[in-house]
């Protein structure tokens, strides 16, 4: 039986504290040269795809723009189209929000990107409901939280209708006969659902992949079901072998209900890594990086997000707050998806206190312990072996690597770990296909 193949993606360092901008090696987060460098490294290493996150409003905390992390990023579609000019095979994927966009325009942009990249486009579908982000858009903030997956599902179905409104054989451009379109009604569509009432003719002929590859992030029940029904790959946070296997079998087990095969949804946890010449060296580096990622000020901000109150007068090297978190709507931090994870802030605060007590940790040390531990730390050999074990034992199908330095944070991995994965027979040595669907071993779509 052939060895199970690892799928690898590269996450362009984002606007959160994982990205260390203060490092001397850190370059621009906005110049095109940084994006080009990162994409070329990923392509040189034969990665499946590059991934870009997106947030449509600058984050705020305590009513002020959050200034401790990288701030500012490009438009997702535009930067991916430009990256198609400096790469040939690498998949080009990004987050596009289904709440603050309309299906016709998003379908048009993804179909265009897929044409312009010769079949390398992918879409991470996210939903939001917050009025905070809505203040930048015509619609404003409006969507009840429980409706967001409904809208996402309807949105995705609407774009699918649009993508499929061309079969792929309509453009004949017969100069002799004077027939450009074989089907005079090509692109005709109509979507009449709870959220959308649109009709007409879609203006982009069928693209090389037919539709972009669909990615989905989210570990919630609704998120898993959404992925099982509609996604080609799912990003997760499960960092350990055991948690990974449980998640893997749960999500893969849902596919059959939608008539989908085991291989049709790839499971790829977001993964941080630190490489060293020796194990000790790697752990020392990892420790240093964690302290760069969580400064005293950052630690206070993290504690404020959990406690949902102003803690600016606290000492990060002192104890955790004695008072309990403010329960209810998180009002301290805006535009940040991670605060939604604190479903039971009092319980989490108690866990933090227990940890502080047991290990004699300061506030900052607790934040480092609980939020910033890297997934894979070691020599290239041990990291390659561990990653391979995760894949071979069905804890995942691959990884979305999240380097902490822009733009060179992937270079060492490409140079040292990838060749070892290739030696193990677990990762491609050359691209065998041209489209992202082919890289992900997904069946071609029928027109």
């Amino acid at each position: 039986m052939p060895r199970k193949q690892i799928h690898l993606a590269a996450h362009f360092p984002g606007v959160n504290n994982t990205t260390v901008w203060s490092d001397p090696a850190a370059g621009s987060h906005i110049e095109f040269s940084s994006f080009a460098h990162f994409a070329r490294t990923a392509e040189r290493a034969k990665f499946d795809f590059l991934f870009l996150a997106e947030g449509l409003r600058l984050r705020e905390q305590n009513g002020l723009i959050y200034d401790l992390d990288v701030v500012g990023r490009p438009d997702t579609f535009t930067i991916l189209a430009a990256l198609a000019a400096v790469t040939d095979r690498l998949g080009l994927t990004g987050t596009i929000n289904s709440t603050f966009n309309e299906p016709y325009e998003v379908a048009r942009q993804f179909a265009s990107l897929d044409h312009l990249s010769a079949g390398r486009a992918g879409w991470n579908v996210v939903t939001s409901w917050d009025a905070f982000t809505g203040e930048n858009f015509r619609r404003g903030g409006f969507l009840p939280q429980e409706k967001r997956y409904d809208r996402a599902r309807e949105f995705l179905a609407a774009t699918r209708e649009l993508f499929d409104s061309w079969r792929g054989d309509e453009v004949v451009a017969d100069k002799e006969q004077g027939t450009f379109l074989a089907d005079p009604d090509a692109g005709r569509f109509g979507v009449h659902s709870e959220q959308f009432d649109i009709e007409g003719r879609f203006s982009v002929p069928r693209s090389p992949q037919g539709r972009p590859v669909i990615l989905q992030a989210g570990d919630s029940e609704e998120g898993r079901e959404f992925a099982a029904a509609d996604a080609d790959a799912i990003f997760t946070r499960h960092g350990t072998l055991e948690a990974g296997r449980v998640f893997y079998s749960d999500v893969k087990g849902r596919l059959a209900r939608y008539g989908r095969g085991h291989g049709e949804l790839k499971i790829m946890p977001a993964t941080t890594f630190v490489l060293g010449d020796t194990e000790a060296d790697a752990h020392e580096k990892a420790h240093l990086i964690r302290s760069q990622q969580v400064s005293g000020q950052t630690a206070i901000k993290f504690a404020e997000q959990l406690w949902n109150r102003d803690l600016s007068d606290r000492d990060p090297d002192g104890p955790l707050p004695e008072e309990d978190p403010v329960v209810g709507e998180n009002t301290i931090a805006k535009g940040r998806a991670s605060v939604r994870m604190y479903r039971d802030p009092v319980a989490i605060a108690n866990e933090w206190r227990a940890l502080a007590e047991a290990k004699k940790l300061s506030l900052r040390q607790v934040v480092i312990e609980t939020t910033s531990r890297q997934n894979f730390i070691g020599t290239p050999a041990t990291v390659a072996a561990t990653m391979d074990e995760f894949v071979q034992t069905d804890a995942c199908d691959g990884f979305v690597l999240v380097p902490h330095i822009t733009p060179g944070g992937l270079d060492d991995f490409a140079d040292t770990v990838v060749p070892l994965l290739q030696e193990r027979g677990s990762f491609r040595t050359e691209y065998t296909g041209t489209t992202l669907r082919e890289h992900l071993s997904l069946r071609p779509l029928r027109g």
């Binding site: 430009a82 942009q109 451009a173 100069k175 692109g187 003719r201």
Partner: protein, 409 residues
């Protein structure tokens, strides 16, 4: 390196502006949806030292006639795809402003400016067509827009376009150039005093800001609009850096220019540079007879004579140079040429018209700037939200200055 004050743009659309151009032997209609086609055209424009290319776009399908080109790619993405492959030529995609989000468009054009290192512009286009409204399903279009009997509804659409441009511009300025500080001592990546809420409130949308994308290399990418009528002349006068008009002849060009200058004055922009280019559809060959014969052949396939909103020129590059200089004398600062057929008429421009204008001392012999604003002789504008470090007169800083921190307290 000689520079000249006359500018040339080429309007790229499909296989050319003549509806049967796709049937020409040289035409590449099957490549229209591949990046290489657009890369070749823009490279040719750059070889010809042109100021800029525009890329046409509509939301819906161009034509219901299966004998004409149907289907096109998003113009902003085509622009981004070709930008890294060129060094000098300006790239100005069309952005429909009626149904789309100004916040998305602002960061898209800012990003185009980054990936082209300062060569981005945007041509804003109003959509008044019910078919396009139905693609978005968010609002209906007044029936009187189609048969042109509802001037109030038309004025509303153009007011919305002006609002849209205002939001684009405010968002481009919502980051000061030195907002990113990377101050290790205080742990701050940005100086939030240099990020600005724009707090725009209009009839169709409100936008809070700031942009998620830092101020683009040119500060303000070039904003262009095509104008045929009063509401559009007003839009150019109020909002644009570059207007495209469609004169019948030199005298008409002078009239149209006067109208735009009047609107510019009325908008309080009399002191600013607003370029006005004349649009011309061109069929060019070494002899006037060859050009006429080719145009006739294309018309024959069409079944009737091709007509356009713009003047249709059929002749030699030298004759077109005569027209260019006449229109320049009438006050226009450039032409936007619409090639009848691609790549033929583009190559006639870059290899025929350009050398002819250079011989007459009327066109650059090398690129004199690296940015589109630079090619158009526009300086990099000051940021509307920035306060001068050393104001010439005390108290001259904008009174209504808002910073992120001040606003939220």
């Amino acid at each position: 390196m000689a520079t000249a004050d006359f500018h040339l743009a080429v309007a790229l659309d499909g296989t050319g502006w003549h509806p049967t151009s796709w049937r020409e032997p040289e035409a590449r209609p099957r490549d229209l949806f591949a990046a290489g086609y657009w890369a070749d055209l823009v490279a040719e424009a750059e070889r010809g030292l042109l100021d800029l290319v525009t890329i046409e776009d509509t939301l819906g399908l161009q034509s219901d006639d299966p004998r004409q080109v149907g289907g096109r790619l998003d113009a902003v993405l085509v622009a981004a795809r070709v930008a890294p492959l060129t060094r000098h030529v300006g790239i100005v995609p069309t952005q429909v402003v009626t149904h789309t989000e100004p916040f998305h468009a602002s960061k898209a054009i800012a990003t185009l400016d980054y990936v082209s290192t300062g060569r981005a512009g945007v041509r804003v286009r109003v959509s008044h067509c019910p078919d396009e409204a139905a693609l978005f399903g968010r609002r209906t279009v007044a029936a009187g827009l189609l048969d042109d009997t509802d001037p109030a509804a038309l004025a509303e659409l153009f007011d919305e376009a002006a609002d849209y441009v205002e939001v684009l511009r405010r968002l481009w300025d919502s980051w000061e150039d030195d907002a990113e500080i990377r101050d290790a001592a205080t742990g701050r990546f940005v100086d939030r005093e240099k990020l600005h809420y724009i707090d725009f409130h209009g009839a169709q949308f409100s936008v809070r800001g700031p942009s998620i994308t830092p101020r683009p290399p040119q500060g303000q990418p070039v904003v262009a609009a095509l104008a045929h009528r009063d509401v559009a002349f007003r839009l150019v006068g109020r909002s644009a850096d570059l207007g495209f008009v469609t004169p019948r002849d030199a005298a008409d060009a002078a009239d149209l220019l006067g109208t735009i200058r009047t609107e510019q004055e009325a908008a309080g922009r009399g002191g600013e540079t607003v370029h006005v280019f004349g649009d011309v559809v061109v069929f060019l060959d070494a002899s006037a007879a060859a050009a006429a014969e080719r145009k006739e052949r294309l018309d024959g396939l069409l079944g009737h004579e091709y007509r356009s909103d713009a003047h249709v020129f059929v002749g030699t590059p030298a004759e077109l140079a005569d027209l260019a200089l006449e229109w320049r004398a009438a006050g226009l600062s450039g032409l936007r040429l619409r090639p009848g057929a691609l790549p033929h008429d583009l190559e006639q421009i870059t290899r025929g018209l350009v050398p002819e204008l250079q011989r007459r001392g009327a066109f650059r012999t090398g690129y004199e700037a690296d940015t589109l604003r630079g090619l158009l002789g526009l300086s990099r504008p000051a940021n509307r939200y920035a306060v001068l470090e050393h104001p010439e007169t005390p108290g001259s800083a904008p009174a209504a200055r808002r910073t992120a921190s001040q606003h939220t307290h």
